[in-house]
Amino acid sequence: MPSSAATDPGEVSDIDLVKRSQAGDTRAFDTLVTKYRGRIYAMTYHLIQNETEAWDLAQEAFIKAWRALPNFKQDAAFYTWLYRIAHNVTYDWLRKKKIQGDGEFDDERTEHRVAAGAEATPKGDAAPDTAMRNAELGQRIQEAISRLTPEHRQVIILREVEGLAYEEIAALVPCSLGTVMSRLFYARKKLQEQLKDVYETTL
């Protein structure tokens, strides 16, 4: 499970800030927001792939955390607890978007888009500048992830970005360990298919 960021020796600890926040000190909570907004925003952005929505959802996560702070028992690290809230807020949003019939996560459309993307970026089309090639690759990876279903995208972000162990992913989602492994496998296979011109090797 993600833990709190490394702290400077002179920095106030999360425990102190949480205690002061629980007593109603909004400045202490503001310090926690400043400390973790970058990581929470990164998570929401990777899952949503939309800057404005990710910004709103990150804010919503902090508001929910403030409201739930009286119930926070400090039996887990603050960031772990905050991360769960942010994850649930974001995943609820994704589920609602899916229920509303947005075709963005339709697997059939994904297949079509994969073919189109592969044609647009022929194998061996090397950019002259390495940095630019890296940026292009990053963009393609982002796009490929955005075409995954919410369930597949979720496990990829939790594993590859947050570095969670399988048990932690299963507890957070929640689902069985077998489901986590299956989703990770199929998510990677779909990504591999979309990025095969980049990651395909010859025997």
Partner: protein
């Protein structure tokens, strides 16, 4: 099609989720199965690529505005809660008035008044009046603003830590703020003098920066 356990072994190897014995067995399989080895290598490269291109931390756009909006929403929630409590008190008052019309109220009222009289004789230690500060912002990085309500002075005190010292030859004159009104809908606070005239309006512009409107006499 491969059985799920084989797929699971593959990703558990990529993610380092195997113990030593499992890893040794699987790597022996990789040596004897070039197709599986190729697939494993491609998936591992993909995994490394994702990790390299998706940062765990990103710079949030309009970071100061992000924080200030959270503070404003927290203040609005507090205000809504206090309004709900007030509404609840109003309902209780209506209920109390309906009891007055009951025939047994006179006797019960006499007993209650005796008890209440005893309680009222004790000095009040809590003052429920307060000003609500939606959020504070200081343009200077070295200056920190904080507020508290002073019961003795019946005033909200604004503390600015980190300001430069005022030269001793500088004459300072102050203004007397008699009361303040907060309008959460537009996130503004108005300060009034003793005559009820507005002295200062504190609000925010569209970008979340503070706005100060003063009632300056025209010369």
């Amino acid at each position: 099609m491969k059985p799920p356990s084989e797929d699971h072994d593959l990703i558990r190897w990529i993610d380092g989720e195997m113990n030593d014995a499992e890893r040794a067995t699987f790597e022996a399989r990789l040596k004897s199965d070039p197709m599986l080895a190729k697939e494993a290598e491609e998936l591992r490269a993909l995994s490394a690529g994702i990790q390299a291109h998706l940062p765990a931390e990103m710079k949030i756009p309009h970071a100061d505005f992000f924080n200030s909006q959270i503070q404003v929403r927290i203040a609005q929630m507090d205000l809504d809660e206090s309004r709900q409590k007030q509404a609840g008190n109003t309902s209780l008052a209506d209920l109390f008035l309906s009891w007055i019309r009951q025939p047994w109220f006179a006797t019960a009222g006499a007993v209650a008044l005796a008890v209440l009289g005893f309680v009222w004789m004790r000095p009040h230690t809590q003052d429920t009046s307060h000003s609500l500060i939606l959020s504070s912002y200081t343009p200077g990085l070295g200056v920190e603003a904080s507020t508290y309500h002073d019961n003795e002075a019946d005033a909200t005190v604004l503390m600015l830590d980190g300001l430069e010292e005022v030269p001793s030859d500088r004459k300072i004159s102050g203004i007397s703020v008699h009361r303040s009104e907060t309008e959460p809908e537009v996130a503004s606070t108005t300060l009034f003098d003793a005559t009820g005239s507005p002295l200062l309006v504190i609000s925010r512009d569209d970008a979340g920066h503070p706005l100060f409107l003063t009632n300056t006499p025209r010369g």
